[in-house]
């Protein structure tokens, strides 16, 4: 018995959602009276992996096959399944990231393991193994019991948190026999968005604007606010559809679903389909000039006013605050 977690990494660094999976796994392991073991894929320095001990890992197994440089759900699921078997792990924790969403279901078939994806809390193990997950586009939660001996939980990024303590993990290298048949998908080109803020699904702070901004030429003040905060920018669907903003910024039912700590919505009415993608944010601030805008009902803090006057003032206030923090 052990709890295995996938230490998702990019560019040789374990990502924040990998640390979140480690934290989650170590807590599950503690409640089951066993240990948390990491599985890392790719060329990652041992020091980076042994540092996972501070998040509760007792050991990390590294599989660094050059073939695994590009992501393929078939090959990655095979690697993780093999390591789950060799480490005797009966619970696997993985982030519900885009790659996690492709790996977890395959893994669940390979390991005959019941899967709950979209987990937002630790499992309740007092009577079986029950996981709380988001459902109905954030409008409700379902408590799902896993009835199989092996279990997989896919955790929503930025939902259960990262906890760092002391400690180092032992690092072991393992190899898994992979053949061409495991790589059906050939990656031809990778296009990364520029900039150094976190991509939307992982972002902790998000500044989002809608049709109330009147036109793309007015986004400068939105970007200034985001820059001061170190926030990622987002937008409502019509704004992406008419080409004021790039599609990857579109949040909501049909766009990206996010769960930041802070969501600032500017000139967005708060239609139900928009809320579906952002209603899991921990704190929502709404800036709108219409007191009747439905978004105020879903907000924690509201500012009734003209965005063109309010945003520069808010940016200044954040600047002053940041300066006072140093």
């Amino acid at each position: 018995m052990a709890v295995l977690f996938y230490a998702e990494a990019s560019n040789g660094k374990v990502k924040k959602n990998g640390l979140e999976a480690a934290t989650y796994a170590s807590k599950v392991a503690a409640s089951l009276g066993t240990q948390a073991i990491g599985i890392a894929v790719g060329d990652i320095a041992d020091s980076e992996l042994s540092a996972l001990g501070a998040y509760g890992a007792s050991k990390v197994v590294k599989v660094a096959d050059a073939k695994l440089e590009n992501f393929d759900s078939q090959a990655y699921a095979k690697v993780i399944a093999e390591v789950a078997k060799s480490t005797g792990s009966d619970v696997v924790i993985i982030s519900q990231s885009l790659s996690g969403k492709a790996i977890a279901p395959r893994l669940s078939v390979k390991l005959d393991a019941g899967l709950v994806s979209g987990a937002v809390a630790l499992p309740d193990t007092s009577n079986g193994f029950v996981v709380k997950k988001a459902a109905f586009s954030g409008k409700a939660f379902a408590h799902v019991r896993i009835d199989t001996a092996n279990k997989i939980v896919a955790v929503v990024p930025n939902s259960t948190g990262v906890e760092k303590k002391e400690g180092t993990a032992a690092v072991e290298t393992a190899s898994v026999a992979l053949s061409d048949a495991d790589f059906g998908v050939k990656v031809k080109e990778v296009k990364r968005q520029s900039g150094n803020v976190l991509p939307l699904p992982e972002a902790e702070l998000v500044v989002s604007a809608g049709r109330g901004m009147k036109g793309p030429e007015n986004w400068g003040i939105v970007e200034d606010l985001a820059n001061v905060l170190g926030a990622t920018t987002a937008c409502s669907r019509p704004v992406a559809d008419i080409g004021w903003r790039p599609h990857h910024e579109h949040v909501g039912q049909t766009g990206v679903a996010i769960r930041p700590n802070l969501y600032i919505a500017i000139g967005i009415s708060g239609a139900i389909q928009h809320l579906a993608g952002v209603n899991q944010s921990k704190v929502i601030v709404v800036i709108n000039k219409d007191a009747e805008a439905p978004f105020f009902k879903a907000a924690d803090y509201g500012v009734l006013g003209d965005a063109f006057e309010v945003i520069p003032k808010l940016t200044e206030a954040f600047k002053k605050f940041k300066a006072s923090q140093h």
Binding site: A140, A142, G184, V190, D300, G302
Partner: protein
């Protein structure tokens, strides 16, 4: 080129969600059922476009009860050639994937298409499970799909960007925004849909891996605190001291 498009039937996006039987069942009273938007707008329409361009056929499949047939007919009206309904209550994602994989095996499809997720369960599970059951490559969250002979070029979403990948048929793919534009069925489509085959097949026997034991609504939001637009320092202080998010 033979396409199999997996379509789910979900409550309309504006449905007010509530539960019955001690919060153990979704309250279906007055719910309007629709095709899952990702399945309809993106997966189905793109499969039809590719069939129109290159020839072939588009079959839709749903795992569900007879009540779903009206919604399945809509997929036929939009342009699918025929439909399969696996006559069973959709159980958990593994149960549904097992039914789809079983039906797919006998059909020798080139491409099996899914939506990125259902807007009800939000699992993103069934596509990947089906791919594994069929032993096929899986490209998830595809925002563009082009086919040239038996090779597909697909753009897929990755964290913080996009990736262009190539995959040969047969493969499994899940569709996200960008892949196609929604189509509204026309009169002719609706008339034709009535005559198109809708085959009802019996499920294979598999057990669910998971059980929903309870539902819960999010706690009601406390009233929104209104801040004077001339006092943004107050908002910043509240975000720092009260909400503790900055």
């Amino acid at each position: 080129m033979k396409f199999l498009v997996c379509i789910s039937v979900v409550p309309d996006t504006t449905t007010k969600i509530s539960f019955v039987d001690g919060d153990t069942k979704f309250n279906t009273d007055k719910v309007q059922w629709i095709l899952n938007p990702y399945d309809e707008w993106y997966a189905l329409v793109r499969a039809i476009e590719l069939k129109e361009a290159n020839g072939g056929s588009v079959t839709v499949i749903n795992v569900g009860g007879a009540d779903n047939e009206q919604v399945i007919r809509k997929a036929l009206a939009i342009g699918a050639d025929d439909a399969i309904r696996v006559d069973a209550e959709p159980g958990d994602p593994f149960y549904v994937a097992s039914q789809i994989a079983n039906a797919a095996k006998s059909g020798s499809y080139d491409v099996v298409m899914f939506g990125k997720e259902t807007i009800s369960y939000n699992g993103s599970n069934v596509g990947g499970m089906t791919a594994e059951l069929l032993g096929l490559p899986f490209v998830s969250y595809a925002s563009k799909l082009e086919m040239a002979a038996s090779t597909a070029t697909i753009e897929r979403e990755i964290e913080g960007g996009k990736e262009i990948v190539e995959v040969n048929t047969p493969f499994v793919c899940s569709a996200a925004k960008g892949m196609a534009e929604a189509r509204i069925p026309n009169m002719m489509g609706i008339m034709n849909a009535k005559k198109k085959p809708l085959n009802v097949v019996a499920p294979v026997s598999v057990s669910n891996h998971t059980t929903i034991v309870k539902y819960e609504l999010p706690p009601a939001k406390s009233a929104c605190k209104m801040i004077n637009p001339d006092n943004m320092d107050e908002l910043v202080q509240l975000l720092h001291n009260e909400a503790k998010v900055i």
